[in-house]
């Protein structure tokens, strides 16, 4: 498969100036709201340390905690399935549905089912799948994947949504009122909630000691999906386990504050056992997670609670849009997870970063995201996956930087060059950096020459 070219894909996103401007501003606003919430809690940093330690402890004892969770869930009356990969996950879900004659499935947002590409699998087998999160539904109706793990349609403006809804669910063409659009979606989804054969959710956390799993939404759509139909299927990645209820408090305090800058999601829902007369099926999914657990530098990414804070703060993500990553997970967390799924296809993604470290600073579970990005770059370089231009440039830079005399000569030459070279020599295909940017004006002299003249005499 051809590697994803993030820079090329993002050039389309960048070309739509009003979309780009809104996207950048909206996500930065989420970052600012996150800051206000975090600063409102004196123990914020202590909570981050606790969350990180709980996750690292759990992942280092994951097999035992998975067994504990399974045992409790079975005691509670749930049926527990295990899926090694996406194909097995989709098959299990299909088997559970078809054995009960289920034809319609209402579901809440789940990155795991996106990762497994479950919807087309079920739909090809005659099962209608209705996404019920507003953003996810917009993306489903537009036949696009989510561009953000928390706000799936954040790259769209109201005019885009209006067009999609007019085309698909009978909204009035040209009506771009956001309240109207949301109400239209509510009206079109409600019959599905009332009459679907089955409901599906993901999980944000799964508590080993009680066999409970927890789903956080603002729309209450997971609660509708799970509490109206007689069958509830929950797909849960094996890294979602935490040991005890007292640990859950730490994560719930961090999650929505980090994601949206609100103290908690409108609904934090705990599913422990099926309702009387209803069925609860839990699918525990590996799909590459156990292999990632064995990667010395990269297992820390399994601590992720999918809040999206690293995406909101990332200047590259905000200005390139989630779809340009060509993967289920985008932004800083995406570019360290995606290569574990397919190192060739996602080999360029670790370069979609400025390595500013902001992602690491906002991460509620203290994943060393920017260090992992750097480590992935080294791996890609060793695997010979760098484009020729970048490789040759880095070889020369490496040589120049290692020898002070060469470096000084190069710097003074570069200053002259930028001043005097014609534009085509600076802004050409060898310099992708210059495609969207102007080289800053070079100062008249180097710091070194100034220093020698002014300070070295004293």
């Amino acid at each position: 498969m051809k590697p994803i070219d993030h820079a090329e894909a993002s050039s389309h996103f960048i070309a739509a100036a009003d979309h780009l401007e809104f996207h950048d501003r909206r996500l930065w606003d989420l970052r600012l709201k996150r800051d206000r919430e975090a600063q409102g809690i004196p123990e914020w940093e202590e909570l981050r340390n606790l969350a990180s330690a709980i996750k690292e402890h759990t992942l280092s004892h994951l097999a035992d905690y998975l067994e504990e969770f399974e045992a409790r869930a079975k005691d509670n009356g749930a049926t527990v399935h295990w899926a090694r990969d996406a194909a097995e996950h989709n098959q299990i879900v299909h088997d559970v549905l078809s054995a009960r004659g289920a034809k319609t499935l209402v579901k809440s947002k789940s990155m795991l089912t996106e990762e497994c590409d479950m919807r087309p699998f079920l739909e090809a087998r005659g099962i209608s799948v209705i996404e019920t999160d507003l953003g996810e539904r917009i993306q489903q109706l537009d036949d696009e994947p989510p561009s953000h793990i928390v706000v799936p349609a954040v790259h769209k403006l109201r005019g885009d949504v209006s067009k999609v809804f007019a085309r698909t669910i009978g909204a009035e063409p040209g009506n771009e009122d956001v309240h109207y659009l949301a109400e239209t979606m509510r009206g079109s989804t409600r019959p599905y909630f009332l009459h679907a054969d089955a409901g599906m959710t993901g999980a944000n956390f799964a508590v080993a000691e009680t066999g409970t799993f927890v789903v956080c939404t603002n729309e209450g759509n997971a609660d509708l999906s799970a509490n109206v139909p007689k069958l509830h299927i929950a797909s849960i990645g094996i890294e979602k386990i935490i040991p005890r209820l007292e640990h859950l408090a730490v994560f719930i305090r961090l999650l929505s504050r980090s994601a949206l800058g609100s103290p908690i999601t409108q609904y934090t829902s705990h599913f422990r056992a099926p309702r009387p007369g209803a069925e609860l099926h839990i699918v525990l999914v590996d799909n590459g997670r156990s292999a990632r657990l064995g990667m010395a530098d990269f297992w820390y990414s399994l601590k992720c609670i999918r809040c999206g804070a690293c995406m909101n703060t990332c200047p590259v993500y905000r200005r390139s849009g989630g779809l340009s990553y060509g993967a289920t997970y985008s932004g800083p967390i995406g570019i360290i997870i995606d290569p574990t799924f397919d190192i060739r296809k996602y080999g360029n993604l670790p370069f979609a970063s400025t390595l500013n470290g902001s992602c690491t600073n906002v991460c509620p579970v203290k994943i060393d995201i920017h260090d992992q990005i750097y480590k992935w770059r080294q791996i890609m370089a060793e695997r010979n996956q760098l484009p020729l231009v970048k490789k040759e440039a880095l070889r020369i830079i490496g040589k120049v930087m290692s020898e002070p005399r060469l470096y000084r000569a190069a710097i003074s030459a570069a200053g002259l060059a930028i001043e005097h070279l014609p534009r085509f020599a600076v802004y050409n295909w060898l310099n992708p950096w210059g495609r969207q940017r102007e080289v800053p004006e070079a100062p008249g002299r180097t710091f070194r020459s100034w220093y020698i003249e002014n300070r070295s005499r004293s």
Partner: protein, 200 residues
């Protein structure tokens, strides 16, 4: 068997044992300010606090707050409503409810949340299929933060339990806040002492 294969792979790959934090601190907020904090956060999350009632009678309060509600379905005997949950066999029968009423087991000051499980709701979907939700909360039953909340036995015994904080909401289109995305359009919390618990 995938179960065995997954567990074996996890066991083989999991990093060397790292310790769990000894104990999770409680970070308890000052007890005197709980009601004010609860009110503040609930309001910030889009919920409303019902004004204190002058006269007795919750049914009068319901009538005053929701004059347009034709179908009122209550999970607490404190409010009569127009329709009894006892006759509901399937959740879908609640589709036409204008107002659902329930008494929360407790509230959480930090987040402005109320705890509702199947014990309080009787039919879980009541809190989601109704157009509006009224929750009774004893002001003496407001806990400080989520650390205190998760010590409640309800999380261990209920099949389904939710911390409900404000109405159903979304900001998925251009960040514009909408109440009533999929579930209830409004959430109102009325501070009413639990019957028989020393209301003076």
């Amino acid at each position: 068997m995938s179960r065995g294969a997954i567990l074996a792979a996890v066991r083989a790959n999991q990093p060397a044992a790292l310790p769990a934090p000894a104990e999770i601190p409680q970070f308890a907020p000052p007890a005197g300010a709980l009601l004010a904090q609860f009110t503040d956060t609930l309001t910030r999350m889009g919920g409303k606090l019902a004004p204190a009632r002058e006269d007795g009678g919750l049914d009068a309060l319901v009538g005053a707050l929701f004059p347009d509600a034709n179908v009122v379905c209550s999970a607490t005997p404190e409010v009569r409503g127009t329709w009894t949950l006892a006759s509901v066999a399937e959740p879908v029968e609640l589709a036409d409810v204008d107002l659902g009423v329930a008494r929360a087991a407790f509230g959480v000051a930090e987040t402005g949340s109320v705890f509702l499980s199947e014990t309080e709701l009787r039919v879980n979907a009541l809190a989601y299929l109704a157009q509006h939700l009224l929750v009774l909360l004893d002001p003496a039953e407001i806990l400080g933060n989520l650390h205190q909340a998760y010590r409640d036995e309800g999380f261990r015994t209920a099949r389904y339990a939710a911390l409900v904080t404000g109405p159903s909401a979304t900001a998925d289109i251009e960040g514009v806040l909408i109440h009533g995305a999929q579930g209830v359009r409004s959430l109102t919390v009325a501070l009413v002492p639990r019957p028989g618990r020393g209301a003076t």
